[in-house]
């Protein structure tokens, strides 16, 4: 396999105001107080047992795409990142410098995707992602979080969506997409606020903001498949959650509550969500726990699972299968985090003539390096992120060498992350959602 070509991009050291200004406001007293407060009040046997049990064996290292892509430099290994952050905080009983906190925040927010692959490699199942998330929590409480992602958390707090979508922008966008789609599908509706519908469809805020055609496509699929569905007209329509990744659990809780309560208000049977990984983690696994529900209060169905049902029951008439050979990216949050690997393959095979497997695949797939909020930390970290995932580039090039022309990635973050990787390493492949392919090949009215 050829070494992926690397574009000569100058590494410009960009400063991150979120970290700089945040750290400049810190005093050592405050740091000590906050660290110990989080360690005492918010953590317990789990953290202690993980820290005491880790035998410093390094066996988690090769799980991590950052470590593998940075020539196995140990400071990128999962346990190496833990050593540079939470171990220090614990050993020094919180007596660390503002400079240390700045670096810890950068490591925790931009050098780990919380993808949980290392959990599968550690003989003891030590939850490195949890340890790193605890570091983010501490940094959040100290006000030292990368600026770009902090801005999205602010947006969540103010608007209950990630992208500062204002009150009327949302229903306007839906109506606009409905009108557009009616040109192609006469009689199509995007039913707003329909109480008692089977399905509430929720999306992430970048869809109405930049990718309204995804809402168009979803409406087309719902329409053709005859699904009894609805979308909320008010707050609660956004299922995304960057607060979960900044360690701002309080806002995470508010956002998730709004989402579940909206579904409850509409008395829907279940929530179907678009093709997004982190949002699934938030609604299915993390946010619900913060709110005290061991399982989501209302059943959550990821788009992969939903398309699987529709295709299995022949609800979507297909004109002809997608011709170009595809390869399947397994987003950590829905595959390693939700077990949808076989359903994803069922959908891919139902839609496409040829599916070429990437290696490793299924729950062992390498993360895209965008997830866990890393891509949301913005341009200062982009180069580090794409360089930190050379193994993904190699994986893609290998799939391409075996014929794959299109990458299917049922996750928004993965999409953006893989796009950056393919541009940087010059890999000529298209990236699509399942929804793009379904829309393209389904039977439409003449």
């Amino acid at each position: 396999m050829a070494e992926p070509a690397k574009k000569q991009e100058q590494e410009v050291k960009m400063t991150d105001e979120g970290l700089e200004v945040g750290a400049s406001r810190l005093t050592e007293d405050k740091i000590e107080k906050v660290i110990n407060q989080v360690l005492k009040a918010e953590t317990g046997a789990r953290l202690k047992t993980y820290v005491d049990t880790c035998v410093h064996c390094g066996l988690c290292s090769e799980a991590c795409h950052f470590y593998m892509s940075n020539d196995k430099d140990p400071k990128w290994s999962p346990v190496g990142k833990v050593k540079q952050t939470i171990w220090e905080m614990i050993n020094k009983k919180g007596k660390v410098t503002p400079e240390f906190i700045k670096r810890a925040s950068e490591i925790a927010s931009t050098e780990c995707n919380l993808c949980r692959r290392c959990l599968q490699f550690c003989p003891f199942g030590i939850d490195i992602a949890y340890l790193i998330a605890t570091v983010r929590r501490i940094c959040h409480k100290l006000g030292v979080t990368p600026r770009y992602i902090q801005d999205t958390a602010h947006s969540h707090s103010v608007t209950m969506n990630q992208m500062w979508v204002k009150g009327d922008e949302w229903p306007d966008t839906l109506q606009w997409q409905e009108e557009e789609a009616r040109g192609e599908f006469p009689g199509l509706r995007i039913p707003l606020e329909k109480e008692g519908a089977d399905v509430m469809y929720s999306v992430i805020a970048p869809e109405p903001k930049f990718q309204a055609q995804l809402i168009y496509q979803a409406a087309a699929i719902m329409n053709v498949a005859g699904v009894d569905w609805t979308m909320p007209a008010d707050m609660g329509w956004d299922n995304s959650d960057m607060a979960m990744f900044t360690g701002d659990n309080e806002i995470m809780g508010r956002v998730k509550r709004a989402h579940f309560e909206t579904a409850a208000r509409l008395r829907v049977k279940r929530i179907v969500m678009g093709e997004c990984g982190h949002a699934f983690r938030s609604v299915y696994d993390t946010g619900n726990r913060w709110l005290g529900w061991s399982r989501p209060a209302i059943p959550i169905v990821h788009a992969i699972d939903f398309y699987y049902e529709l295709l299995r029951d022949n609800k979507i008439p297909i004109k002809e299968k997608f011709k170009d050979p595809v390869t399947l990216h397994d987003p950590c949050n829905v595959i390693r985090g939700g077990g949808l690997m076989e359903k994803s393959r069922f959908v891919a095979n139902a839609l496409c003539e040829t599916v070429v497997e990437m290696h490793p695949n299924r729950e062992y797939n390498y993360c895209c390096a965008a997830g866990g909020g890393v891509i949301n930390c913005g341009p200062p970290y982009k180069l580090k992120r794409v360089k930190g995932n050379r193994v993904k580039a190699e994986q893609l090039m290998d799939a391409r060498a075996r014929g794959a022309k299109v990458i299917i990635s049922p996750c928004h973050n993965c999409h953006s992350g893989l796009k950056d990787i393919k541009n940087y390493y010059d890999i000529h492949m298209d990236i699509k959602f399942f929804g793009d392919i379904i829309y393209k090949i389904m039977e439409k009215p003449e």
Binding site: T43, G44, A45, R46, K48, T49, Y50, D52, T53, C54, V55, H56, C57, G58, L59, S61, E62, A63, Y67, K72, D73, P74, K75, S77, V79, G80, K83, L119, Q120, F121, P123, F124, G125, I126, D127, Y284, D285, R289, S294, I335, R336, G337, G338, G339, L340, M341, R362, E363, Y364
Partner: protein
């Protein structure tokens, strides 16, 4: 010499065994109390089936992806841990001591086998030492305590081997052997050697989370 021997094999042995068992109980109870107090949700997700699925895969040589990726390490790790646990329990001269003191005895290993097992533990310790010194990712996270722990584990086997073969200074090595064994017993609950107890629980919890919620493999 005899007095020292009686002391280390008598009262000190008592102290060591009590510290070992009481220490383990203390660490376990402390962990469980902490979970009940602060993270009771953990119980909600525990599943016997997936705990066992995870534990069984990880205690099977080559039973997990990471064991398969590191064949030499896997063989050494398993040989090391099996020898480390079995040989002291089933060593003839240890069982004889139990028999003399308490009138209880059980099956024993042939001496030749036990001897090889001691060598395996010593060789394994050397392997881990070299790994710590040479593998960058291990060295980076290694602290002094890791070497101390390794020495604590190797010491009873080195001294035991020397004592058994009665090379030189037999009585000294017997005493050192008993002391080393006692230090190891006491160290288990209070150092990272506690992975002997906690690994079962961390594995069970991760296995349950992966099985119940994430519906994927953690091995």
């Amino acid at each position: 010499m005899h007095d020292i021997y009686s002391f280390v094999s008598g009262p000190l042995a008592w102290v060591a065994f009590i510290a070992f068992f009481a220490g383990i109980m203390y660490r376990l109870i402390d962990m469980i109390v902490q979970v009940i107090k602060k993270e009771p949700f953990i119980f909600t997700y525990m599943s016997l089936k997936y705990s066992l699925r995870s534990i069984i895969h990880w205690i099977t040589p080559f039973g997990t992806l990471n064991w398969r990726r590191n064949p030499i390490l896997t063989i050494v790790t398993f040989a090391f841990h099996i020898s480390l646990i079995l040989s002291p329990i089933f060593l003839l001269s240890h069982v004889t001591l139990w028999d003399e003191a308490w009138n209880i005895s059980w099956w024993t290993l042939p001496d030749g086998v036990a001897d090889i097992m001691a060598l395996i533990v010593i060789a394994g310790s050397l392997f881990f030492l070299i790994r710590r010194l040479t593998q960058r990712e291990v060295k980076f996270v290694t602290s002094t305590s890791d070497y101390v722990i390794l020495a604590i584990v190797a010491a009873p086997f080195v001294t035991g081997f020397l004592a058994y073969h009665q090379f030189f200074g037999y009585p000294i090595f017997v005493i050192l052997h008993i002391l080393a064994g006692e230090i190891m017993l006491v160290a288990i609950p209070f150092t990272r050697l506690s992975h002997m107890i906690f690994s079962l629980f961390t594995r069970a919890y991760m296995g349950s989370e992966f099985g119940v919620i994430r519906k994927s493999k953690d091995y």
